[in-house]
């Protein structure tokens, strides 16, 4: 593994300080999946506005008199994440387009699984009202029961599915 990465405990501490600053200044923790959802809502509204206005899910976000879904805290935060990660990669000389996989797997299969996995994540994030950052990490930081439950459920199931998917990585 690349040894130029920051010590994980130090990085975790720094991440905790950012999370704490977020809670202290704005009263909410960090998040991510909500930003993706905002992009989806805005795209659907752009392509099929009548469907968006009549569906119970989309109509809470779009319609006459409502603000653009992209004008949201999470969208700006994720924009920041992309910028921050880019700057960090630039400074640490890690900017490269690469597809990582196990030794016996081709890139195409990796990308296919990435799409499937991403879709599963999107579904899960809507059920759980958050993702690992918003529901689990920020949830644990404010001692929410949901935070701990989701953390345990993620890692428990992750280990179970990992065994099935091991050929992709090992």
């Amino acid at each position: 593994m690349n040894t130029k990465y920051m010590n994980p405990y130090l990085a975790g501490f720094f991440l905790g300080i950012v999370l704490l600053a977020s809670i202290f200044i704005t009263g909410r923790g960090l998040g991510a999946s909500g930003a993706i959802k905002s992009v989806v809502v805005e795209t659907v509204d752009g392509l099929a506005p009548s469907h968006a206005e009549s569906s119970p899910f989309y109509s809470t976000y779009v319609g006459p008199g409502k603000e653009n879904p992209l004008k949201s805290w999470l969208v700006f935060e994720i924009a920041g994440v992309v910028i921050g990660a880019f700057i960090s990669g630039l400074v640490s000389d890690r900017l490269k387009v690469v597809t990582e996989a196990g030794p016996r797997v081709k890139s195409g299969l990796r990308w296919a699984f990435a799409v499937v996995g991403g879709a599963l994540f999107g579904v899960g994030a809507q059920f759980a009202r958050g993702c690992t950052s918003g529901a689990a990490l920020s949830g644990m930081a404010v001692l929410s029961t949901a935070g701990f439950v989701t953390m345990l459920a993620i890692f428990g199931t992750g280990y179970a599915v990992a065994y099935v998917a091991r050929k992709l990585w090992l």
């Binding site: 704005t26 910028i83 899960g124 930081a141 992750g158």
Partner: protein, 116 residues
């Protein structure tokens, strides 16, 4: 006394604060190595525990900070957002994510921080 939203910081300025916090988030994630999907999958196969270390260190740091600031009266703990608990959806959702994490080795925020 925190939080400063919505009294001292307006909703518009809050968006700028979100951008700055996001930059910090992105730097932390990328420095920790979350831009590598092999590293993310590593925790499930027992060869790279970076994810666990970063995650729980961050949670414990923030948690301790919230409790300390609340104790010293610097943070109004009633005004911060605590995500509500709906057990079944949370578990179903997390089952779905975890399948995603193993098959695709992504979690949304680090995915934004990734190069591939």
């Amino acid at each position: 006394m925190g939080p400063f939203v919505p009294d001292l910081i307006s909703d518009q300025l809050n968006l700028v604060v979100a951008l700055v916090l996001g930059i910090g988030f992105g730097v932390a994630l990328e420095q920790a190595g979350f831009s590598s999907s092999r590293r993310l999958a590593g925790v499930f196969y027992g060869y790279d525990f970076t994810v666990l270390r970063v995650f729980f260190t961050a949670a414990v740091t923030a948690m301790s900070g919230v409790l300390l600031l609340g104790y010293f009266g610097l943070l109004d703990t009633d005004a911060i957002y605590v995500n509500p608990t709906w057990l079944l959806p949370a578990i179903v959702g997390a089952l779905s994510w975890a399948s995603a994490s193993s098959s695709a080795a992504i979690v949304p925020a680090p995915a934004s921080a990734r190069r591939q």
